[in-house]
Symmetry: C2
Subunit: 461 residues, 2 copies
């Protein structure tokens, strides 16, 4: 009787197992969601990261505190194995607070501006830079007026285009990244860059620049959007042709040692197949690195915690990686892939969250078409969470830190995609604090990430 | 030549006109979006509403200040005709700050709690209410323990279910709405209700209750979620069987005069066909009524401003209505439909936003199936804004204030739908302030609303 019953089950397996699988998967995903939404630790972990560690730029004391925080958080979440993976990181330091003002003969009357040196920028030295200032809207204007640039401070006042709902940062960040060398080419002595943000406020937003090594390295600073508007007004009116003064105190020290912080649960069936999930541990020095990228860290850790709390044993090894040095070097992500290559590891999936912890909408999927078709077949499981925006990016990346895995192993990549309208308001600024993150939205990010990890772990790609 | 050309156009009109129409509409919607995202006044209007008017409960001084603010905002936006429509509104006043604490023989040692009387509640009188306290999880427990209720203060400690991503408020608000009368039925002397919010914080969230007129009216208050957890702990441990004391100073005064504030642009082709768009002007007395419902007001006004700024003349009459008294009476929405009926108006569309100004996802559509099919055909225009979640609710409403138009005229209804995970964090609490609203998300709400108004105005329903 039992044997005949089994045969009839097997006969219908192609249909019934699919149906059973769907049902079982829906139930498991519901369990994951309930665990995270009711008992989640992502928000309290974010609080402790922001308020006991705070900023954690590569090489800073905060970096080391952040690494300790990460080890503890991973162990508390239930990692069976938590360890540090060393890598050399750049050690850029800001030094004391920057100064920026018009410098005229009017005693004590010249307006001052809050600025932040751009990351990796050279400093001005104690004497600062004093020079006439020239405002340009964009690189086209710089080219047009290249004969006027020599000996001046170039002020890039390119606005964040709010009509690009998902491309404004990529559009504007080139002035921060390349503006210094582009201006140095024509003899500029320093650059001021309008903050790359949609927020109209008083916070300068910093971030890395990249010097062209064939050109002089000149100091570069960010100014807030309000400050940029004010400066532009002064240049056009009361302070036309007046000198401007900038002093920055930043410098590059020799590389130092940082670490990827890694926590694992070992796979029950395929322990050699590795699923990497992470965000980056380093953050710029203003603010608390809450949305960039505290949220990516705590949601990644939450996946491990939820699986453990539910007593769920993934088939494959789940590795949570808190990457070192995404912001100004990508040394952590690079090291992680290198070590994987040396150890001949098998990396079957990578997921990154580095766009803040807003309401999740889906994933950017950097993989083959066949893999994407399989992923797309799971979209129904994401409908309850409204996270159904799966975008295909063949061979593209899911994020900076997992990019090297793609190069080294062709590992399929998932980058969490959110509503994303608030992230750049606080990005790289003193306003990137815990209070800007919503607990429920953060938990939903973890739910959606954990659900995808569950499916890929179970079915492979 | 011209005639032959026209003929060939007409021959292909069924295809080409559709294509042309789509293209023209996409372009117009892009213009609307750019105008709002680059030059929008919704955020600055919200600032002035929150910071110069603030709370504006029906009958309060704030209500009158809010009406003046609305008249000015509508005129500044370009309303050709702005006027007040009078209606009687309830006049409930909170009086001085409430008190709540355990009342034992320990001198000065009893813990105090921040509470807010529920709207429309009776007060306790100067002497307050002193009685034993009994905690129940829900109405089922109240029923089970009905013999223990007499002479006691009932504490409803029903949590906001965070696993209901879009139904937690509806699930929990019954304790605020009906809890007093349900407890009075068994002889309770007062009720304390856990705030109907997903936020874990120190703010009591108020809101209306409804008394059953056949039962004694007993005082009712809200306690914050943190306060509820603390109170629950005390009841179970240190203060078991101790008396609790509540004093509230609220009272109902006679009805007074309030106003719907209305601004119009008259239709160029069908001026007698009215499109109503609005939110509610009144707000609860803690906080600034920023998300409830300042955001609905300023996005509605923004539609009118954007149309005027673009020199766009709608075919039908666009009427922006800042409704009076949604929170504790719905007298404004009721009056508006009544007056429409008396004047034999033709109401062809109504839209409401009363769920905050978060990232918009689409609309709840209360209309016939045929109308919804037409609306659904426009979904492509909302894809650039990710606002494609159109949900059909046959004969249902788009919001409380426009509900009476549905009853009176069968007017098709649109309720703006957003991501909605943050709204109830601040709802009816002191935390409902301007700073919790994001400028870009708010503008996107206005874009999506204006786009739908443009389409319905142009093509009808």
């Amino acid at each position: 009787m039992i044997k005949r019953f089994l045969v009839s089950i097997l006969m219908f397996s192609s249909v019934s197992m699919v149906a059973f699988g769907q049902n079982e998967d829906s139930e498991m995903i519901k369990k994951i969601a309930d665990e995270i939404l009711l008992n989640g630790k992502a928000y309290s972990n974010l609080y402790s990261l922001c308020k006991t560690v705070g900023a954690r730029l590569s090489g800073s004391e905060g970096m080391y505190k952040g690494e300790s925080w990460g080890m503890i958080a991973l162990k508390e979440a239930g990692a069976e194995n938590a360890y540090l993976q060393a890598c050399m990181v750049p050690h850029w330091v800001r030094g004391k607070k920057e100064l920026a003002r018009f410098k005229t003969n009017k005693i004590n009357a010249d307006p001052e501006f809050d600025i932040l040196a751009l990351g990796m920028s050279v400093g001005t030295g104690d004497k600062g830079v004093t020079a006439p200032i020239i405002e340009v809207k964009n690189f086209e204007e710089l080219e047009r007026r290249k004969d006027e640039i020599r000996g001046k401070i170039v002020f890039y006042n390119y606005p964040f285009n709010k009509t690009f709902l998902r491309g404004a940062y990529g559009d504007a960040v080139k002035y921060r990244g390349n503006g210094a060398s582009a201006a140095a080419k024509y003899g500029a002595v320093a650059v001021i860059v309008r903050s790359v943000t949609g927020a109209q406020d008083d916070f300068p937003h910093t971030g890395s620049l990249r010097y062209n090594d064939t050109l002089p390295k000149i100091p570069a600073v960010a100014i807030s959007t309000n400050g940029a508007d004010k400066l532009s007004g002064y240049i056009k009116n009361d302070y036309k042709n007046e000198n401007f003064f900038i002093r920055t105190n930043c410098e590059m020290l020799p590389d130092t040692i940082g670490h990827n912080v890694i926590g694992e649960i070992r796979g029950s069936e395929f322990p050699n197949e590795i699923i990497t999930i992470g965000g980056h541990l380093d953050s710029w020095d203003p603010g608390e690195g809450a949305s960039d990228d505290g949220t990516g860290l705590v949601t990644s850790i939450e996946i491990l915690r939820a699986f453990k709390a539910l007593g769920y044993y993934p088939k494959r090894t789940i590795r949570i990686v808190l990457f070192a040095n995404e912001e100004n070097g990508l040394r952590g992500g690079t090291k992680y892939a290198e070590e994987g290559k040396l150890k001949n590891e098998k990396h079957v999936m990578a997921m990154e969250s580095d766009g803040g912890g807003e309401y999740p909408r889906g994933f950017g999927c950097g993989m083959t078409k066949e893999q994407f078709e399989k992923v797309n077949g799971w979209i129904k499981y994401f409908e309850p969470f409204d996270a159904t925006r799966f975008s295909f990016n063949e061979g593209g990346g899911g994020g900076a830190d997992i990019g090297p895995l793609q190069t080294a192993f062709k590992t399929p990549q998932f980058g969490l995609s959110t509503t994303g309208q608030r992230y750049f308001d606080v990005h790289h600024a003193a306003s990137d604090v815990f209070e800007k993150v919503n607990a429920q939205e953060l938990n939903l990010c973890a739910v959606v990430m954990a659900s995808m990890v569950y499916l890929v772990d179970k079915y492979g790609l």
